[in-house]
């Protein structure tokens, strides 16, 4: 019976649950879903990770290539992010060119990496004006169940922390590159931005919403923090929100961020124990 009621009156269904301060999946209104991080999921990539937030699953592989830098920025490398939302992950997406959501997420995640300064593109320079690293970070969503930005940011940061780049010798006179794959170096990650998403439903704020909750909500809010500093507060429209509620969400994110950062660091350190050549 509940199933039929849910499909006929989804809003009423959720309202009845939320009035009892519980959600259909058994979580409290302000409870986060469990997060699972796996590292080195793709052996052929230079850095990779897989993240699950509840049922949302994203995988990220980072490929490093050598290329000449841009003339206007001769000592900076590149980090090119791309978020893919294939038709496999949700019925909302169709095959063909990237959907609007995929483009928006790509841009938002790329902006965040740039704004937070977690990676210095100058570290990717090998020889000024001649040779730099270009990192392609491909993030693919396998299961879309809400909070896609959170998952993408988490997986990208984790994958970046696992990147191992070989040492490259470059002889400019004869344009010869010698790659020493036996010595691999980590990338410097200066800080770890992490985000959490909230959905507004009538006068309630739902933490870490699933796709269903995102769809019935009247607006989303994504808060990104790094080292107790704010990195972005992104509310792309939706119903108006009072300032007190906004600040509550920010505080909640700051508290939750410690947990996520600990999780990333634990996963990365375990990986480092496995291959000591870092």
């Amino acid at each position: 019976m509940a199933k039929q009621f849910k499909s006929l009156h989804p809003t009423k269904f959720y309202r009845d649950y939320l009035n009892q301060d519980i959600r259909p999946d058994g979580r409290l209104v302000s409870k986060f879903r469990p997060v699972i991080i796996n590292i080195g999921s793709i052996a052929t990539a230079d850095g990779s990770a897989l993240v699950r937030i509840g049922k949302t699953t994203v995988i990220c592989g980072i490929k490093a290539e050598l290329c000449p830098p841009k003339p206007e920025k001769p000592n900076e490398g590149f980090l090119i992010c791309n978020v893919e939302l294939p038709p496999l992950c949700s019925s909302k997406f169709r095959p063909g060119p990237p959907s609007d959501l995929a483009q928006i997420t790509t841009r938002f995640v790329a902006d965040l990496i740039l704004n937070s300064g977690c990676i210095n593109l100058k570290d990717l320079c090998i020889v000024k004006e001649k040779l730099v690293w270009c990192l392609y970070a491909d993030i693919i969503c396998l299961d879309h169940d809400g909070c896609i930005i959170d998952a993408c940011l988490l997986v990208l940061l984790t994958a970046l922390k696992t990147v191992r780049l070989p040492v490259v010798q470059y002889d400019a006179a004869i344009d010869k590159k010698t790659i020493d794959a036996s010595v691999k170096k980590c990338l410097n990650i200066y800080n770890t931005p992490v985000s959490t998403t909230y959905a507004m439903f009538e006068d309630k704020i739902i933490t870490d919403p699933t796709t269903e909750e995102e769809e019935i909500s009247s607006g989303l809010l994504t808060v990104v923090v790094k080292d107790k500093e704010l990195c972005s507060i992104h509310k792309p429209g939706g119903s108006p929100l009072s300032e007190e509620k906004l600040y509550e969400c920010i505080n909640e994110t700051v508290n939750h961020a410690d947990l996520l950062i600990t999780l990333i660091n634990t996963a990365v350190s375990e990986c480092n124990d496995d291959n000591k050549n870092c």
Partner: protein, 219 residues
Amino acid sequence: MEVESNVNLSMREVNCKLGMFTRPDGSVFISQGETAVIVGIYGPIEVKPHKILINKASVETHYCPKSGMPGIADKLCESILHNVCEAALASALYPRSSIVIIIQEMQNCGGIIPCAINACCLALLNAGTDMKFLFASASCGLDDEGNFHLDPDDLFLETAAASFIFVFDSIGKGLIASHTSGSFNLAQYQSALELCKKAAEGIFDFYKSTIKKDLKDKI
């Protein structure tokens, strides 16, 4: 929090012209400093079958950059405009129809998003589409010394430590949209919010005087 006196607290000059096109139901040209946009509204009009919604109007937003196809940065801008307009429009009054909002960028000298949002609100007023509330947007930038600068232009934004864009509604002055870049702390965010809220009130007054003048001209 007190804001230092050496802060630029004035907005760039805002000018607008209503109803300059005949085909759209509402149109506006708005310039904020050197930044300028044109917005046209069609609606409620017939909806394409695949976009039909049985309980409300579907809101379509098209952001056209000055030249070329919209890129992914334009898509982000478009999504904010879409969500803001969708929240404000009383779309339940027009089931099985669509409201089309076309935003044409004319010149971008910083602050294109706030300018486009304000233009959308004026154009919707000009079209006479039913809305739940009006909305106004203001932006501010933060320099390296921690001074705020209201309505920054592109020269300031190049060196700014952070920039903030806020959209407020006219009834409870609640926050509809927030978009930030750069890093900042909570106190700075709160000051920026207060500063922009004051500026947004000025924009609501501007709407009122513009519409008043427009109606007077018609009589």
